[in-house]
């Protein structure tokens, strides 16, 4: 034991030794075999090795690590549970990874003012579990909520099935403590007080994919559980009827808590997965609809939803009869991505968003893309807010199929962008969709964003190479001209 430590020390480079001095010898990894599991996150197509992984225990240690990296020009990035689906935590430049996994405490809960303070490594679902005995919960519920961290949720502005009614992460963040890329610690909206005077830095940081600062403490809004909740499952013989039912429900003036859709291929996958429900195999689409709120008001909304479904040729529609049944339906939906593993060796999930009214048109286009690429595409998505998740099924052992899948993914995003949509609703850009940013933003618009990055992260040491496409020639030239003018 002693011997192997000594051996390690002789191989350590000077930076690793200095970082170890900050966090202690048990809180750093730098041997190649230890670093392997940090070479990617939930986006597994691209891999790169970090220089080291450090596990700070508090804000001061994070700040000290950041200061050290900043002074010594070492690229660095923050990592939570590593569940991100767009590659935001992949160390493209041999970064020092600052894992926030050991800063995982619930610091305080203030029920009167409906807020809780957590460390970034605190797991999303644990917050709800910690406050549920008092009847409270934390609303953003990404499918990975049993393992993903709230720090990571802030970085990605994570969504979830219930954000149709309750909003995404940014709508639930009240305050942030942030370590800036130079090591300085700032507190924004300390105390979780709204409308802090000045530019909305909290809004900018949320969803900045770890490129503006490292969040070390988060004040979140907590909500009281709704008094009642009813869930409806509707089976359709064709996708178009299902899509029209979605529009019908929204047009009826109902704001469902969730409105999810799965197509035939997706249903095949979830039924072969760990949580089968027994959905009929020959249906074309299903809708999972949830309404919550005051009990007295729910029944009439459910009646209206049933009527809408019937008027759109639903084959069968039913209301969950028990909490168990409801739980079963949701487990089937929430494990949908992983379930694709049961019907395909590999899958790639995309995350486009479209105006709801374009749903039939875009689904048709996706099925064409499937035909063109020769790859099956399953659709599991948040139909209520137009957030599509095409799952492209492929086999990476077949030469050329991974590339084909990536191309099909890009084509799906293009289809979303073409109808005025977005390339990502909740998974983030990361490295995966960098180039696709050009589908929706002009050079000037991208430059407006990178200028903001320069304010926070002027040396671009923090999570470099993410979020923005490689600068086009035109922009490079412009920058040179600008710099020359400035120099004069």
């Amino acid at each position: 034991m002693f011997r192997s430590r000594k051996k390690k020390q002789t191989r350590k480079d000077v930076h690793v030794a200095q970082l170890e001095a900050i966090v202690g010898p048990t809180e750093i990894l730098y041997e190649k075999e230890d670093l392997l599991s940090y070479d990617c996150d939930g986006f597994t197509v691209h891999k790169a090795m970090p220089k080291a992984v450090v596990f700070p225990k508090n804000t001061e240690e994070v700040a000290a690590i950041v200061r050290y990296c900043s002074v010594h020009d070492l690229p660095f990035l923050a990592r939570g549970a590593g569940t991100g689906l767009s590659g935001g935590a992949i160390p493209l430049n041999g970064e020092v990874i600052i894992s926030l996994g050991k800063m995982r405490n619930l610091l305080s809960v203030d029920y009167e003012n409906r807020q809780a303070v957590v460390q970034p490594g605190f797991v999303n679902l644990k917050l709800t579990n910690s406050i549920s005995s008092k009847g409270y919960y934390y609303a953003p519920d990404p499918s990975s909520q049993y393992v993903c961290t709230i720090g990571g949720n802030v970085a990605e502005n994570a969504g979830g099935a219930h954000c149709l009614k309750y909003g995404v992460t940014t709508n639930h963040i009240l305050g942030l403590e942030v370590v800036l890329p130079n090591g300085e610690v700032i507190e924004i909206s300390d105390g979780g007080i709204p409308d802090s005077p000045g530019y909305d830095l909290m809004g900018l940081l949320t969803g900045s994919e770890g490129t503006l600062g490292i969040v070390t403490k988060i004040t979140v809004r907590i909500l009281k559980n709704p008094q009642g909740k009813q869930t409806v499952l509707a089976y359709f013989d064709n996708v178009e009827d299902g899509s029209r039912a979605v529009s019908g429900i929204i047009s009826a003036g109902i704001v469902p808590a969730a409105l999810e859709m799965m197509d035939k291929t997706a249903i095949e996958g979830v039924e072969a997965g760990a949580y089968p429900v027994g959905h009929p195999k020959d249906i074309d689409a299903l809708l999972l609809i949830e309404v919550d709120g005051i009990k007295a008001g729910i029944d009439e909304q459910i009646e209206e939803i049933l009527a809408v479904c019937k008027s759109r040729n639903v084959r069968e529609v039913k209301v969950a009869e028990s909490e168990e049944e409801r739980g079963k339906w949701w487990a089937n939906r929430k494990t949908g991505f992983g379930a694709m593993g049961a019907i395909s060796p590999d899958y790639l999930v995309q995350d486009g968003v479209i105006p709801r009214s374009k749903l039939p048109e875009v689904l048709k286009r996706i099925s064409e893309i499937s035909k063109e690429s020769g790859l099956r595409i399953a659709n599991i998505f948040h139909a209520g807010d137009g957030n599509l998740h095409p799952l492209i099924l492929f086999d990476s052992r077949v030469p050329g199929e991974t590339e084909k899948a990536l191309e099909a993914g890009t084509a799906c995003l293009k289809a979303c962008a073409d109808v005025g949509g977005s390339i990502t609703g909740e998974h983030g850009v990361g490295i995966e969709k960098k180039e696709e940013m050009r589908f929706i933003f002009t050079d000037e618009e991208l430059e407006a964003q990178t200028r903001i990055r320069e304010v926070f992260n002027p040396d671009d040491l923090l999570n470099k190479g993410k979020l923005f496409p490689t600068p086009s020639r035109c922009m490079d030239v412009k920058k040179v001209v600008k710099d020359t003018v400035a120099a004069k």
């Binding site: 029920y111 009167e112 003012n113 009847g135 502005n157 969504g159 909003g167 940014t170 700032i186 924004i188 105390g191 007080i193 709204p194 409308d195 005077p197 000045g198 530019y199 909305d200 830095l201 909290m202 809004g203 900018l204 949320t206 969803g207 900045s208 009281k224 709704p226 529009s247 047009s251 003036g253 005051i294 007295a296 909304q301 968003v353 105006p355 709801r356 009214s357 807010d385 137009g386 005025g420 949509g421 977005s422 390339i423 609703g425 909740e426 983030g428 850009v429 969709k433 929706i440 933003f441 000037e444 618009e445 407006a448 964003q449 200028r451 903001i452 990055r453 304010v455 926070f456 979020l467």
Partner: protein, 434 residues
Amino acid sequence: MEIQDMPQASTAASSIFKDEKFGNDGAEVVAPESEADIADILRKANKDGKKVAIISGGTKRGYGGLKNDYDILLSLSQYKGVVEHTAGDMTVTVRPGTTIKELQDFLREFDQMASIDPAWPEQATIGGVIAANESGPKRMKYGSARDLVIGLRVVYPDGTVIRTGGKVVKNVAGYDMNKLFIGSMGTLGVITEITMKLRPLPKCESLVKLFVSKEQLQDLKTFVVKIQDSMIEPATLEMVNPALSKKLFNRDTYTLLAAFEDVENSVRYQEQWIKDNKPEGMAMDVSSETEATAFWNAFSKIAPNSLTDYESNRTRAVVKIGSKNMNVFEWLAEAETLQKANLLTIEMHGGLGHGITNAICTGVESEVKQAIVRLRYRAEDKKGYAIVKHLPYTLRHEIDVWGHKPAYFFLFEGIKKKNDPNNTLNHQRFVGGI
């Protein structure tokens, strides 16, 4: 419904440029009717080193600003109207000069609404409301501008037109640049289009009022905690102090306004819940649907704005206090301490579900100034803030309407410098003289 002495806004738009009481005026007034014209004006001003102030409805000239005159006053009042509305998508794209009322009237035809209830909907425009991040009591249920805006078009000082966000309700592509412009007081760019997500008009609404004597305040506080801990879902829980209750209801009591907006069964259930659970001896009144609408309309006009405040013998100020929800009770108590017969009146209302309190101070100048300083001292002591949303120009040189600069002010400066390096837009209008 006893609404007394409600001030009426001047309808003569030209008059807003004539008086000097609120500053933020311009040597030259331009009212472009296209985005291209706006871009041309900015490009030229930016090149010529001219300073530009932005105005739209003209209700917020008393909100920040250390200049009496800018070179150019860019009015967006003529750049108005709905650009795009797809009812099925529940989104609308609108030009900045559209008044809140015009927007809501348009959407009502589709049983939809923009879920924002700022003051003076007939005069205030959506552009101004977004730029100043204005909100009303119902933000407790519906959130504020930052929760509703999904996309913007912005003209930068150099004339570049930038789109932020998009037209879809969920979007994480790139930085959330919408947030940068909401509440930035026009210091970073001119907003030329706003895309918002909409909500269906509630099928039923009602307003429950509880009239509370000073002696009953402690009971009320306990009751409010009980409401918050219950599963009922009020759209607002707004506390009103006696001075404002007097004006609104002709009663010398505190008043709790609890609004409910949902399907009818749910609204009736929640009214009944309040009735069954309220402390004994507390007077309760339930407004009908039409009364509730009329009440909120009147409520939106209680604060002075730069179109209505022409008084010369009394100073009027509106202070926005940000604090934790339950601190509202402390501000109510503070208002009682500060008020002085014939010298200072404070009409106050604060949201127990959203933490924003508004104090309308009216009186002799020295007392109004003292009240601002005192409220700010108390608010900052509790990690909150007190900013002055409405104050005559001369006093804005004596009192920093934005309060102390945060430790991270350098980031604000950095952002301003990147977007507007020549300080062309609304210079000195914002925090720390940005």
